[in-house]
Amino acid sequence: MSAAGPEAPARTQPPEPIKAIPVRHPGRWVTMAVIAVLAAMAVNSLVTNPNWQWSFQWENAFAPPVLRGVVTTLWLTAASMILGVALGVVLAVMRLSPNPILSGAAWFYVWVFRGTPVLVQLVIWGNLNSLYRQISLGVPFGPEWFTFETRDLIPPVAAALLGLALNEAAYMSEIIRAGILSVDEGQGEAASALGMSRMQTLRRIVLPQAMRVVVPPTGNETISMLKTTSLVAYVPYVELFFQTSAIGSRTFQPFPMLITASLWYLAMTSVLMVGQYYIERYYARGSVRTLPPTPIQKLKMRFGWGEPA
């Protein structure tokens, strides 16, 4: 907006900064008070009620069998998620393939493994030797080349892993398929126009971008898997939940040991959530102009420990 006169008036001095009374939030104080009271009540009951058996829990929470169980739970979660994601990618790509046989097979897989209880699947894998004494490799109705005792081929650890991973793959394939579909069509076109093959396009262009959509639900799946591992007791295979329950029934204190197990799961979940946060940040690069600071960076900035980002 130019001024009325022939010359624009020279800016003499900047206007005074606005001094206004900020909006009050009385509701916040009320809710804070209510929540503080409720929290105090909860803490009070946890501390004073002897039935929680905190000292008993503390004595047993770090017993060697429990710690071994924690380790088993962790690696079982990691291994079945890695296998599940890998197979899930394959299934998702098959499902989106123009080849009707491949996409049909993937659809069928998801239908079966997602549609039946994972508990049943674990029981079947764990007891496969009662269904099939031997497993043979050969031509159907024809000669057999190799024959294995099922019990030797699928020990409990393999049954646990198979049951969890194959079930997870069905869920992961749908998550990954959604991620692939979320990537703009122009991306694949641009890669094709540059002469990149279908596989190169998928691996280098589409999947990395799909990850942004895939990571949050995968974090969800990982946390869910952490607790689903407790079902491998039905294989049977020994992990955290099995161990805490064993202590619980041996000492006739099943309930406190359930809490102990829950606290362990809660602790592991917390660690996984931190991991998820950083993975999400990694795949957000390029899609946001500047990444928001991490909580640690925020702390550092607030206390002036580091240079502002």
């Binding site: 991306q187 094709s192 990395p208 899609s287 102009r289």
Partner: protein
């Protein structure tokens, strides 16, 4: 269409037809583009000009006629009088020589500018990274973005993104460049910087087919102009001729709206 005598055309289309379901998008396109020629294709939206452009690198399949790039049939192999569909790999190989620039840039958002430029030469052509990096940097310099190599697309303006996209296509050292409305998604003040890069490219002797609404560019840079409407080439010739003295009613009607 310069009837360049004796020079093999870079692109030749013969009665190219295409349908989307029952809708006939291309109703028999015939044209020739000579090496080093800059051809601009104009026309109302829905006239099939972008579709035709996308047929040239087989992003779209043609349903009738023949289409050659540098003497090679696009998307098909002919033995005797039988046509064989090409495998994905062969199609990909054909595309190595044809650069394409899109209306919406389609840069890879998870890669920096220079990674965008380097990706295809390294992955699709299998060239050594170091050599490609030098070439990519030189191309970014050439489009005026030598210092933005480490920026992600989201940190660049539309004009800058489109210039990176041009550098990305050029890094494949194509024989032919296709531009699909390269300035249509840009703010008006950013159009010039992209057109400048394209003008430079035309001066360097690149064969270019440009689908555009920039009549000024067509007049100044184009060697030939094709006006398409309703899936057909209505009028073609020297851009200055066609733009100032259109012969066909439909051309006149279109130009009166855009000029």
């Amino acid at each position: 269409m310069t009837a360049a005598t004796g020079v093999a055309p870079m692109v030749r289309a013969e009665q190219v037809h295409k349908w989307y379901g029952r809708f006939e998008v291309l109703k028999g396109i015939d044209l020739e583009v000579a090496p080093r020629e800059v051809m601009c294709i104009v026309g109302p939206s829905g006239s099939g000009k972008s579709t035709f452009l996308r047929c040239i690198n087989h992003l779209e399949r043609i349903h009738g006629g023949r289409l050659w790039v540098d003497g090679e049939l696009v998307g098909y192999r002919q033995r005797g009088d039988k046509l064989y569909e090409m495998r994905d790999k062969e199609v990909a190989r054909q595309r190595l020589d044809i650069g394409m620039v899109f209306q919406r840039f389609n840069l890879f958002p998870h890669m920096t500018a220079i990674q965008n430029v380097m990706e295809a030469p390294v992955r699709a052509k299998g060239e050594a990274k170091e050599a490609v990096r030098d070439r990519a940097q030189a191309l970014l310099d050439r489009v005026g973005l030598g210092d933005r190599g480490n920026s992600y697309p989201s940190q660049l303006s539309g004009g800058q993104q489109q210039r990176v996209a041009i550098a990305r296509a050029l890094c494949m050292q194509p024989k032919l460049m296709l531009f699909d409305e390269p300035t249509s998604a840009l703010d008006p003040e950013l159009v010039g910087e992209v057109l400048d890069v394209m003008r430079q490219l035309a001066d360097s002797g690149m064969t270019m087919i440009v689908v555009t609404h920039e009549m000024g560019f067509a007049r100044e840079v184009g060697d030939s102009l094709v006006f398409m409407d309703d899936g057909l080439i209505v009028e073609a010739g020297d851009p200055r001729e066609v733009l100032t003295n259109p012969q066909h009613e439909r051309t006149k009607a279109f130009l009166s709206k855009v000029l």
